[in-house]
């Protein structure tokens, strides 16, 4: 096992691009290799040692045996773990854009906040973020129509706009709140949101599932209520509780499903009768 520690010396004004410094490329590097390496910064390259104190301990024969630890503010360090296929990265601080983008394996943990595009188009592995993330978590690159395809993203804080845009696989779990248009254009996969959702989840979704345990602000017109479900099993996972189940987005003949907590969103239910505080099941196929 090899542990490579990057202690931040200074936060650069222009972002560093660390897509070359991933376990797949550096598992055989020693300290002197880092001394020789110049990292892209804007349209130039500078010695990586200008920005980090790097220590290398142990040896590795494959990327899976590498653990990279970033200590300090990496708020201007982009592409951490970009396209990595194995190994482990721990960021003890914030991370800039594209953390874990296109990763296919391994694990990344960020003990801070992340900028936009965290886990963009990842196909495997796990990305755990203990802070908040900005826009496009697990989404596609701008203009692209294929987002995250596999793996799992866990956000312990809140997620920004268009979380899981164009999702075609994998699992995104946001434990906090989520901004507008979560799961827009999604075609497969699962988005699980424990907190509240601002507006319009699942816009133009064709398939896949979104679970919202909190309060939903506003739903799009393209979702039709299918009824009340209790402890639904979605993507092989049982979710405890009672949910209102919707199908959508019918504007695109979508067959996706949106589940929102029935108790917290009782105003959304079309045939709610709460005189005796009981749910009235609408049956499986009843449409509004």
């Amino acid at each position: 096992m090899k542990t490579i520690t990057f202690d931040v010396i200074k936060r650069n004004q222009i972002a560093l691009e660390m897509d070359e410094v991933i376990p797949d490329n550096i598992y055989s590097w020693e300290a002197e290799d880092f001394d020789k390496y110049a990292v892209p910064v804007g349209n130039s390259r500078f010695p990586i040692t200008d920005f980090f104190d790097i220590t290398v301990e142990g040896t590795a024969d494959s990327p899976a045996e590498v653990k990279m630890i970033f200590n300090g503010d990496c708020g201007r360090v982009k592409y951490i773990g970009n396209k990595m296929s194995a190994g482990e990265i721990i960021v003890n601080g914030d991370a800039d854009l594209h953390v874990g983008a296109e990763m296919s394996g391994g694990a990344i943990t960020v003990h801070g906040n992340c900028e936009a595009h965290a886990g963009r188009e990842m196909t495997g592995g796990t990305l755990e973020i203990f802070g908040n993330t900005k826009e496009f978590t697990g989404a596609s690159y701008i203009g692209e129509w294929r987002g995250m395809r596999g793996g799992k993203i866990t956000v312990h804080g809140n997620a920004g706009k268009q979380c899981g845009e164009c999702l075609v696989g994998g699992h995104i779990h946001v434990k906090g709140d989520c901004d507008i248009l979560a799961g827009i254009h999604m075609r497969k996969g699962l988005i699980e949101i424990d907190g509240n959702v601002n507006r319009w989840p699942g816009g133009q979704m064709k398939n896949g599932n979104i679970i919202i345990r909190g309060r939903l602000g506003r739903l799009l017109e393209g979702f039709v209520e299918e009824g009340i479900v209790t402890n639904p099993v979605v993507n092989g996972i049982e979710f405890e509780g009672t949910f209102i189940q919707y199908k959508g987005d019918i504007a695109l003949k979508g067959k996706g499903h949106l589940y929102i907590d029935a108790e917290k969103n009782r105003d959304k239910l079309s045939a709610w009768e709460d005189e005796d505080d009981e749910y009235i099941s609408l049956g499986d196929n009843r449409l509004r």
């Binding site: 892209p40 349209n43 390259r45 596609s140 690159y141 701008i142 203009g143 692209e144 129509w145």
Partner: protein
């Protein structure tokens, strides 16, 4: 600076040099007969030496490219590289950035590219983009096929006036030749319509495509322009369009070719572009089939026509054309994001991404039809290799197409191993065609024929006095069978050993080692000044009333051009 390319195996179809081992000398940007003893020797022993490539038809500069880049950021991130000592950073796959376009053409051994569609109103923008594409010369073709003035002149059969108008507009736009796109169809799109067939009329203008195309061909020959009319016929991409294509080309066979010096370089009256998109049979995509045999047969019997293929490369790409109604049809089929534009009084435009998947029947059919056209057309001087970049695929796939053409086993393995859909076998004759191109044929369809089609004498050949535009590829043709190793062919043609442009070494071992600003080629007709003034006086009231720009802002002034190459044409009889 003097150079000797020593001991290369030279393919120069314009001079009928077919794989001869010889030296090529160049000095001060030109090919010369001999050099002094001080000349620098570039040892290319047994390697392929050809004139630098000439691309007959591509879309590399202009507003639609910018629009494409803006709305497809996902394309721009493909092929990103860091800047180096000699080049700026690269980006883009199907719509690369301007510098990237120049670098990639250079790496493939190309020196000249035709920008195939320049709307007059957007000509300034096109030239601005050309200025920042390095390493290649570019000759833009001005769009005339749906221009309101042209439609009216065609309706009244005013060929002399039309010739004067073209002459004036080539000066105004700094264009090289006459481009026609879906004649009358792009105009009909202004009313949300299209024309179907060769004898259909757009709303308001009481004129058919046939009348417009014939009039433009006559005017082109009257001026004796170096390039013939360059036509994208009606009904592009529609099953059953083979008839329209043949009817269009056949209608021009009686037009007398100019005997001007400039026009005498070429043989054709009409150049039909991206013929693959115009060679379908059937009535819809369910019963569509290949019309390649009919089109190739027509080419084999008619010397007044040349064409380029527009070979589908089976990639995800971006389509962009002045055939706006066709793009709308494509949008209806795919549902992908679509851009539509109207160029007032002149033309229209549309852009949409397209995924040519080898697993889908239609894409495979298009791929096979393109290859059929290459293999069924007997005379390689009549066809040019293009992908209609980026419409059927990016130009960077030319080496792959070359490898397909040189290897029948490769084509067969793709069909037999189901790398492509079975429509290639069921609906085309591709599996029965065992013809293989040799390096001489490849040199013909990528440089010699292309230069001749455009009326170039200073490029596309290795004659003494021609520009020292030369490509060397790291293959030893005397010790190598391209049929058995198509991958090596693709690799070698992707990364030239040397690319020399105007005597300057731009590429060495596949890497850019130097750059130079592009040059734009435009045609200046002399001797029509009075007629041009008369036609300008005639159109000016309409222009002033209806165009949203003022005349002074419409013209491309000289400072928009970098190092222009003005091709002067003496008007015959003047």
């Amino acid at each position: 600076m003097e150079y000797i390319l020593k001991n290369g195996i030279v393919y120069d179809p314009a001079n009928e040099v077919n794989g001869e081992k010889k030296d090529v000398y160049f000095k001060d940007g030109k090919i010369v007969e001999d050099v002094s003893a001080d000349a620098k020797v570039l040892d290319v022993t047994d390697k392929i030496v050809m004139p630098a490539g000439v691309d007959t038809h591509a879309h590399v500069a202009g507003p639609k490219l910018v629009l494409g880049r803006l709305y497809r950021p996902e394309d721009s991130r493909r092929g990103v590289t860091q800047k180096t000592k000699n080049e700026r950073g690269e980006s883009g796959f199907s719509i690369p950035s301007c510098p990237t376009t120049g670098y990639r053409y250079s790496r493939m051994g190309y020196g000249t590219v035709c920008e195939a569609a320049m709307p007059p109103l957007e000509a300034k923008h096109t030239h601005e983009e050309i200025c920042i594409i390095p390493n290649i010369d570019i000759n833009p073709l001005t769009l005339f096929g749906n221009n309101w003035f042209i439609l009216e002149m065609a309706r009244e059969n005013k060929i002399d006036e039309m010739a004067a108008f073209i002459s004036a507009w080539l000066k105004i736009t700094k264009g090289y030749g006459v481009k026609i796109v879906n004649p009358c169809g792009s105009e009909a799109w202004g009313w949300g319509m299209n024309v179907h067939g060769y004898d259909d009329k757009p709303p308001y203008f009481d004129v058919t495509s046939r009348e417009v195309v014939r009039a433009l061909a006559k005017a082109n020959e009257k001026l004796g322009l170096p390039h013939s009319i360059h036509i994208h016929p009606n009904d592009l991409g529609h099953p059953g369009n083979t008839n329209t294509t043949i009817e269009t080309l056949d209608s021009l066979k009686d037009i007398v070719k100019s005997n001007s010096k400039a026009a005498s370089v070429r043989d054709q009256i009409v150049h039909c572009t991206h013929m693959q998109f115009h060679s379908y049979t059937g009535t819809n995509w369910r019963d569509a089939g290949s019309g390649a045999e009919e089109v190739a047969k027509f080419l084999n019997h008619n010397k007044h026509v040349t064409g380029d293929i527009g070979q589908v490369t089976l990639d995800e790409t971006t389509t962009m054309t002045a055939d706006a109604p066709m793009e709308y049809d494509l949008y209806q089929l795919s549902g992908l994001k679509w851009v539509n534009a109207d160029i007032e009084c002149e033309t229209a435009a549309g852009i949409i991404p397209c995924i040519y998947s080898p697993k889908t029947p239609v894409s495979t059919l298009q791929w096979a039809i393109g290859l059929e056209l290459f293999l069924l057309t007997k005379n390689p001087w009549q066809i040019n290799l293009t992908t209609d970049h980026p419409n059927a695929g990016p130009f960077t796939r030319y080496p792959r197409i070359i490898s397909w053409l040189m290897s029948a086993p490769k084509r067969m393995s793709m069909i037999e191993n189901e790398e492509v859909h079975n429509w290639a076998e069921k609906r085309t004759s591709l599996a029965t065609l065992d013809r293989e191109y040799d390096f001489y044929d490849i040199a013909t369809i990528t440089r010699a024929s292309n230069a001749k089609v455009h009326g170039f004498t200073d490029r596309g050949n290795l004659s003494v006095g021609s520009n020292a535009d030369i490509a060397v590829y790291d293959l030893e043709p005397n010790n190598f069978d391209p049929s058995k190793d198509p991958e090596a062919v693709e690799k070698a043609f992707s990364r030239a050993k040397y690319t020399i442009k105007d005597g300057q070494i731009m590429v060495q071992d596949g890497e850019i080692v130097s750059t130079k600003p592009s040059q734009v080629l435009w045609t200046n007709v002399k001797g029509m000044e009075d007629e041009e003034k008369a036609v300008l006086d005639q159109v000016m009231p309409f222009f002033t009333q209806y165009y949203s720009v003022k005349w002074e802002n419409y013209k491309v002034h000289d400072h928009f051009l970098s190092n222009p190459i003005r091709v002067d044409i003496e008007m015959e009889g003047k």
